[in-house]
């Protein structure tokens, strides 16, 4: 059985040597994606992996699927074209914090707004790696880099907040080295109909090493993150004794057994609820005030662009008297010259 899974996993690898830096978080994300495909048993030919520009965007070359490494920032638009042209394909978009949120911000929010069935994996390392270390739109305020030697004076985007602000219906977060969790959220993203955004907290070993360390380090991870599961209470911590409650309209971290708090008081995660209010609050939680939310934060249903586009064409085809080019040009105000 294990041997079969291994075989299935290898089937998604291309013949190209992977050329990311040793120790780069991208290797783990690539593995997780290939495992996801193997577990979902999608035929290789039905997969299209589309990327923009940046370290992450080299990923399509390493996949034995149809792949297109396009231009900086435009992957959402390219992928939208692929999906609308052939909705039978399962389309993955590979992008980074610069590609998706800086140069490609416009396409990113509009793909989400349209709710095209794309699975977007956003590698967030809070730095420009391929151009060797400039701050990105997700770098923390005050971040020092080659283009911000005195610290940045701008606030970062929070990808979850941006997704929900653009009317997104799926948002999940994982950590590069947590392959099991990554496979879990990638599978959920693939199954979700509509645009799915998966933010991966990715480590750039060269230009921004350990940027997520205070959250992702094994020593503190259990206390500083919370893995959300639909239908389960929002409990976290090494001792599994911490939880989230709603106080007024804000979230609050509590300890079970203190101040009369019992497990019953803890919020239960509802990923499917259409109202994004709580999802937004969960997505925005930051250490040290809160644990950082991982897992599927939002997974709600809404009409899907590519399905609706196809449906509309079928309906109009059915109704219209014009069935061919000939019908079109001979209908209306024509006259004969004899």
């Amino acid at each position: 059985m294990a041997e079969n899974t291994k075989q299935a996993f290898l089937q998604y690898k291309s013949d190209q040597n992977v050329r990311w830096c040793p120790g780069c978080g991208d290797h783990a994300i690539l593995n997780a994606l290939q495992k996801t495909m193997a577990e979902l048993e999608v035929p290789n030919e039905d997969l299209a992996v589309i990327s923009g520009i940046g370290c992450s965007s080299r990923l399509p070359y390493y996949m034995n699927t149809y792949g297109f490494h396009t231009i900086h920032g435009r992957a959402s638009a390219m992928a939208s074209g692929v999906k609308v042209a052939n909705p039978k394909l399962q389309v993955w978009q590979i992008t980074g914090d610069g590609d998706a949120l800086a140069i490609g911000g416009n396409h990113f929010i509009h793909a989400i707004r349209r709710n095209i069935d794309l699975n977007v994996i956003l590698f967030n390392n809070q730095i420009y790696g391929l151009t060797k270390g400039q701050y990105s739109p997700t770098s923390k305020r005050g971040f020092i880099s080659k283009t911000s030697p005195f610290g940045t004076i701008e606030y970062p985007f929070r990808p979850g907040e941006l997704t929900i602000g653009a009317r997104g219906y799926f948002f999940a977060r994982t950590i590069d080295k947590e392959i099991k969790l990554s496979v879990h959220v990638m599978k959920a993203a693939a199954k979700h109909k509509g645009t799915s955004i998966v933010e991966v907290l990715q480590n750039c070993v060269i230009y921004n090493n350990n940027t997520h360390q205070e959250i992702t380090d094994k020593k503190y991870k259990d206390d500083r993150t919370i893995v959300l599961e639909h239908g389960k209470p929002m409990i976290f911590g090494k001792e599994r004794n911490k939880g989230l409650i709603l106080e007024g309209i804000t979230l609050k971290v509590v300890t079970i057994g203190e101040n009369g708090i019992t497990e019953k008081d803890i919020l239960v995660h509802d990923a499917h609820c259409e109202d994004p209010t709580i999802h937004l609050k969960l997505a925005d939680m930051e250490y040290p005030d809160f644990p950082v939310a991982l897992g599927v934060i939002r997974d709600a249903a809404a009409p899907v662009y590519d399905e609706c586009a196809q449906q509309q064409i079928e309906e109009i085809k059915e109704k219209s008297k014009i069935k061919s080019f000939h019908d079109l040009v001979t209908t209306g105000d024509v006259w004969e010259v004899k």
């Binding site: 039905d46 042209a85 039978k88 394909l89 064409i313 006259w335």
Partner: protein, 615 residues
């Protein structure tokens, strides 16, 4: 006893309808041209309207016009100057004086010539006829507003609806001037207002009232008669350049067996193509109104990768934004058609006016050595043909193609003969035929040098492409310097070889002419009409009009070398002339350029050519 009215037999006539941009002049002009076409005249039309949707009423800036040229023989342009001008207000009169033939007939709505409107139009006195010295013109002062109100006073309509139909009064009067029956127009009005029969009947009543006014005042007023033209047999309809482009792609989709995908963002004057194809869901067209110009082309490139006939439509500023993505299509060697309906530039420029100033941008406006095909339509109706052939070349040679149109072609109409079965060839997409194990992503057709198309969804042909330089054979990323050199050259050679698949350059007029006129794109009608006029004067002139610009037809040099005096005419400062010089450095080229946002006039061309012949 009434005098018998004069009936003037004419070969061709130009009528210009002009009024405020809310006066319905575009509809009036369209109705008149349709009726003339059905009558059997050849026609060419051109609307001229401000960029503002409703510019300040009564001002010159807000004047909207529609010109119709129709004739007993073939007509190629909407005409330089008008024989008949309908001016719905003083601004319309003032704005069009420059475009009148000597002794032209001017119909004015005297009711609108009040002090306020005269002042807005910039008249100093209350007598524009005197002020502009118009006594040599045949002026019909019709109380159009009053008469429209009178004829509708018993119908219980509100004042706004009544005033809106005064354009029909003017139209009726013009129909009388040309002895045209009203039936076809009445039928179209009834169809157009089928949901509002009251408005339809009001319009028809006013139309007839206008016609009857002509009958009553006919003493002393000339009436024109234009016999039907001798036109090729077939079924016809009126078509403008934008619609023709949309329809050309529909036929190309049918002939190639591919589904049609349009990714586009609205931009004047190209928007109508997007609108027309959006309405064609019945033919399965997938239209994606993108968030911007870049997404327009990017979705199209994605759709092309997935196997659709993919196009994007734009105008100059949009083409600038699409440059980087076009380079990707060059590198990935995917079929794509980019339509650029040119307008006045640079920057936002003159959105509703025509110009040919994007030629260099189309040829060279990308980073790197980035060759692609550039074609240009030359009449409103052959926009259909060139859209079809742009798609054919893009698909069969696996390359992006830029098709240039312009504001003049986009909005101008002509009668279009509906092509018969078999008139257009099949389009054969170069799908991979080899077994997957033997196939390499960048191996090429030995003759055309195109790579082959493997569509996502096909088992075994999984492959990766992208904007990084590709290995000559496998398509894997390659930074090898020899390989890059080879790829740069083969991409160029692939485009050059398309010259073997396009028609040779034709010479119109005298083979042994003393002057060769060279043009490209939308100026054909004016250049050809000028050539005919010179020919009638016994002058020896020829015209070489280019529709394929990159690559040039194989015989281009051979043709140019034959003539000692050559003038390249274009609506820019000499972009095509520069391009030709770069290709054929030993050919001496004179230039005739105009950059006013307007088409050439036949008269100015004739004058210039005559001067050149005398030199």
């Amino acid at each position: 006893m009434a005098k018998k009215s004069k009936v003037i037999e004419r070969e061709e006539v130009v009528v210009r309808f002009s009024g405020d941009s809310g006066d319905g002049m575009q509809l009036t002009g369209s109705l008149f041209s349709f009726s003339s076409a059905i009558y059997g005249n050849d026609i060419s039309t051109f609307p001229d309207f401000p960029a503002e949707i409703r510019a300040p009423q009564g001002t010159i800036g807000g004047v909207s016009g529609f010109q119709v040229h129709f004739g007993h023989s073939e007509v190629y342009t909407p005409g330089d100057n008008a024989d008949v001008l309908v001016a719905m207000n003083p601004a319309a009169l003032k704005a069009n004086l420059e475009w009148l033939k000597p002794g032209a007939t001017i119909v004015i709505d005297v009711d609108s010539f009040d002090d306020k409107n005269l002042a807005k139009a910039g008249y100093k006195s209350n007598d524009p006829i005197e002020e502009d010295n118009l006594s040599s013109y045949n002026i019909i002062k019709a109380p159009i507003t009053t008469m429209t109100k009178n004829s509708l006073k018993d119908m219980g309509l509100d004042n706004k609806t009544i005033l809106r139909s005064k354009n029909m009064y003017a139209l009726g009067l013009v129909f009388w001037l040309f002895n045209r029956p009203l039936e076809n127009t009445e039928r179209i009005i009834r169809e157009k207002f089928s949901k509002n029969p009251e408005v339809a009947e009001a319009n028809i009543k006013v139309l007839e009232a206008g016609y009857n006014y002509g009958v009553i005042i006919q003493a002393g007023t000339p009436s024109y008669h234009i016999s039907p033209a001798d036109i090729r047999k077939g079924t016809y309809r009126n078509l403008n350049g934008n619609k023709a482009i949309a329809w050309g792609f529909l036929l190309a989709a049918e002939k190639s067996g591919l589904e049609l995908f349009l990714g586009s963002y609205p931009i004047t004057p190209a928007t109508e193509i997007l609108q027309e194809l959006s309405a064609r869901k019945d033919l399965g067209v997938k239209v994606f109104q993108a968030e911007d110009e870049i997404a327009g082309i990017s979705t199209a490139i994605g759709a092309s990768f997935a196997g659709d006939l993919a196009i994007t439509t734009t105008s100059g500023p949009g083409l600038a934004l699409k440059g980087e993505a076009l380079g990707l299509a060059v590198m990935a060697e995917l079929p794509l058609v980019v339509v650029n309906v040119q307008r006045g530039g640079p920057s936002t420029g003159l959105p509703t006016k025509t110009e040919q100033s994007d030629l260099m941008q189309a040829l060279y406006g990308r980073n790197g050595e980035s060759p692609l095909v550039v074609m240009a339509a030359s009449s409103p109706v052959n926009c259909f043909d060139y859209a079809f052939y742009a798609a054919k070349v893009a698909i069969e040679h696996m390359t992006p193609v830029i098709l240039l149109s312009d504001g003049f072609l986009a909005n101008g109409t002509q009668p279009w003969r509906i092509p018969e079965e078999g008139e257009f060839p099949e389009i054969k997409p170069p799908f991979v035929e080899k077994p997957a194990e033997e196939w390499n992503v960048y191996e090429r057709d030995p003759e055309k040098l195109n790579r082959y198309w493997a569509l996502p969804g096909t088992p075994g042909y999984q492959h990766r492409i992208g904007g990084l330089e590709k290995d000559f054979l496998t398509g894997a990323v390659s930074y090898d310097h020899h390989n890059h050199d080879k790829m740069v050259k083969i991409r160029k050679e692939k485009i050059d070889r398309i010259a073997d698949f396009i028609p040779p350059l034709e010479i119109l007029g005298d083979e042994d002419a003393d002057l060769l006129i060279v043009g490209w794109g939308g100026t054909f009608g004016h250049l050809y009409t000028a050539l005919e006029a010179l020919h009638d004067e016994g002058k020896k002139v020829a015209l070489a009009h280019f529709s394929y610009i990159s690559p040039l037809p194989r015989n281009s040099y051979e043709v140019l070398k034959k003539y000692s005096k050559i003038v390249v005419c274009e609506l820019n400062l000499g972009q095509f002339a520069s391009y030709l010089r770069s290709q054929f450095p030993d050919v001496v080229l004179h230039q005739y350029n105009k950059v006013e946002g307007l088409p050439f006039t036949v008269a100015e061309l004739k004058d210039h050519f005559n001067k050149m012949l005398e030199e």
